[in-house]
């Protein structure tokens, strides 16, 4: 069953005719994702790599009954594309774009409240349900179908965790990259709740990082609501104070959002922590044996 996406997902790509949009749409289709259309204003009515292109998201949804969108629009116009997807009442919007102004995302966040849409990202690798559907830029071949849910703020670090699982022949139910930006559509708790309710998920890996309080809030939620085991790693223990480490979200400003204090809260809430990112696969194997 997995969460968010599966065999029945019907995907459109926003910004499908761009270089990145084309490449990753084809990669997703090759993986088995049902790509039903794409949107590029001004190119409506054409066919790109065998995929019908529309001028607007509204039109694409009307014509293809798409239920998910993947956004590859450059940062200055990406927020507008998300709003277009909200207007088209798409249930799932996955925005890969990195570098959207925070001010734009504050408005998007307001537009999402009370809407019919869920946004994943921006600045994320996307979502994959191994063996069924891939929406995003992650390498499909490192995944395998199974019962571990993965949630992360990072891209390549998620691949690292997934790879460690697959090497141990531990498969994944769904892997969700929620993105590295300070304002995003879906947080850890949203995903944890979905995994808790998903019969196919037996354990969850949560990969966080310094900055913000999303991980500590998630930890308290897990303690109060979750019966499935959670393994967690927080990146950035070695980061100096006040430095932004690539992700806009990863700036360590006060004592509360350091890796150390996050590890502490996670542990207090009964979560299995991996001090080293190389231990994630092993720790999951341990909790699954219990």
């Amino acid at each position: 069953m997995a969460i968010l996406i599966n065999r029945n997902t019907r995907l459109i790509t926003i910004g499908i005719t761009g270089k990145q949009g084309t490449f990753h749409t084809l990669q997703s289709r090759d993986y088995g994702t049902n790509v039903v259309g794409g949107v590029t204003p001004g190119k409506g009515g054409t066919v790109h790599e065998g995929i019908p292109v529309f001028n607007t998201t509204y039109e694409a949804v009307q014509e293809t009954q798409a239920n998910a969108a993947m956004i590859f629009v450059p940062p200055p116009a990406a927020a507008d594309s998300i709003i277009e997807c909200i207007d088209a009442e798409l249930p799932l919007i996955i925005c890969i774009t990195e570098g959207i102004p925070v001010g734009d995302m504050i408005k998007v966040k307001a537009a999402l409240r009370g809407s019919k849409s869920r946004l994943i990202g921006p600045n994320c690798p996307g979502v994959i349900t191994p063996g069924e559907c891939k929406i995003g830029i992650m390498p499909g071949h490192i995944h395998m179908p199974g019962n571990v849910g993965v949630i992360s703020r990072s891209g390549t670090l998620t691949y690292e965790a997934v790879y460690q699982l697959t090497q141990r022949e531990i498969g994944q139910s769904t892997c969700v990259g929620i993105g590295g930006d300070p304002v995003n559509g879906t947080n850890f708790i949203d995903c944890l709740e979905m995994f808790q309710n998903d019969p196919d998920t037996k354990a969850v890996i949560m990969i966080g990082e310094i900055g913000g309080t999303a991980e500590t809030e998630a930890a308290r939620w897990i303690k109060a609501n979750m019966t499935k085991p959670v393994v967690s790693f927080i990146a950035g223990a070695a980061a100096p104070k006040g430095k932004r480490m690539g992700h806009a979200g990863a700036i360590i400003s006060g004592e509360d959002d350091s890796a150390e204090s996050k590890f502490k809260v996670l542990q207090e809430c009964g979560i299995t922590i991996a001090r080293s990112p190389a231990e994630l696969g092993q720790k999951v194997a341990e909790v699954l044996k219990k």
């Binding site: 980061a239 990863a250 080293s276």
Partner: protein, 389 residues
């Protein structure tokens, strides 16, 4: 991106925020000239660097005569100013702001930041002006009053009243404070700030409400629509290596260890620093080559890492997703040959085209230590750095 106080105040004037009259000077003679033009009998000479806590470090001085203005400017210009935000090496002062004095009645704090937990901007005020606000937040959080502002309504008079009354203001000063809050919020939103901080905001004996200091940071991702902010960039305040890296789409931060790191992805790059520390090593830098790195960017990344003389070993950790391992391997080999890399090189490759990438490294004839996984890579890099001492 950061700007200087005098630049922040120029922007504040555009949003009808009251600031003191002043002018910027690069020499003591210019400072005297500015003071003469301002008139009056009291001036403040303020060091212009991108860091707070300047007063405590001796970078802000009061002058009662033009001779004192000259003397203070002479002392401050060229000094290596150390504050709690500059690090122990301090920052060299190249400019001073000379301002009129004023009769302070009370000092307050006002700041705007993003509250990530709700995805909204929050405006905060405190009666504890002039203090380090982090300390106030820690010791007496009840003294900080907050408003979350919905982007649909913007800051309304209701927010202004809540904050103004919380500061104990009434009458004309209350009205002026409300106008100030409104101006600062509009500035924050219209110019895509990431931090706006006025510490202190003061009331004067004459009932004025004045921003005595001003710190503005801007969202780098929004600078494309603010050329007027981009021109304020002071490159002397930024690390030359970090600027150079940025030109090639690399994200580089210099650290104080001896193991150079070249990684793809910010999260994996942070995790690589962490695992080096866990194995007893110290990273010399954070470097994320990004998702779309080419042979050229990998070479550039090596060049930047090697500029740091303390680097005793280099760890390359690549998880190829979009990025193919063979491309990285070619970049590593070419860079090592062209730059004549003398330090030990530990390379861990995984992901797309990994077999091809490993073959390229093995056949290069270079002394490269291959690593099997993350822990193995960290262990080998730490050993290599120790051996290189």
């Amino acid at each position: 991106m950061n700007v200087h106080e005098y630049q922040a105040k120029d922007l504040m004037r555009q949003f009808n925020i009251a600031v003191l009259k002043g002018g910027v000077a690069n020499t003591p003679a210019q400072a005297v000239e500015v003071a003469k033009q301002l008139g009056g009998s009291i001036w403040v000479v303020k060091a212009q660097i991108h860091a707070g806590g300047r007063g405590k470090g001796g970078g802000v001085k009061l002058a009662r005569t033009l001779e004192e203005v000259e003397k203070h400017a002479k002392d401050i210009l060229g000094m290596q100013l150390v504050t709690h935000q500059t690090g122990p090496e301090g920052k060299k002062v190249l400019k001073v702001l000379v301002e009129q004095g004023c009769d302070i009645d009370h000092e307050y704090y006002c700041g705007i930041v993003l509250d990530r937990t709700v995805g909204k901007v929050a405006m905060m005020v405190s009666t504890e002006g002039g203090m380090e606000i982090e300390k106030v937040a820690h010791d007496s959080p009840e003294k900080i009053i907050k408003c979350h502002i919905d982007p649909a309504t913007g800051l309304t008079p209701a927010h202004g009243r809540k904050l103004g009354y919380a500061l104990g203001l009434k009458g004309e000063p209350l009205k002026k404070a409300m106008a100030f809050f409104d101006g600062l919020y509009r500035l924050y939103v219209e110019k895509d700030c990431s931090i706006a901080e006025i510490n202190p905001l003061v009331t004067t004996k004459q009932g004025e409400v004045i921003a005595l200091d001003g710190k503005l940071n801007f969202d780098d991702n929004a600078l494309f629509r603010h050329p007027e902010i981009e021109v304020m960039r002071d490159v002397t305040e930024e690390s030359a290596q970090e600027l150079e890296a940025g030109k090639y789409g690399l994200s580089y931060i210099s650290l104080d260890g001896n193991i150079g790191c070249l990684v793809n992805g910010a999260g994996l790059a942070m995790a690589t620093l962490d695992i080096l520390k866990l194995h007893g090593g110290t990273p010399a830098n954070f470097l994320d080559v990004g998702g779309g790195a080419t042979k050229e960017t990998v070479q550039k990344a090596f060049a930047i890492i090697l500029q740091d003389q303390s680097v005793k070993a280099i760890l390359v950790n690549i998880f190829g997703g979009i990025m193919k391992c063979d491309i990285i391997a070619n970049g590593v080999v070419d860079a090592a040959k062209e730059l004549g890399v003398k330090v030990p090189l530990v390379v861990r490759l995984e992901g797309t085209n990994v077999a091809l990438g490993k073959k390229i490294l093995a056949e290069s004839g270079l002394k490269i230590t291959p690593a099997n996984d993350l822990a193995d890579a960290a262990k080998k890099a730490v050993e290599a750095a120790k051996g290189g001492k």
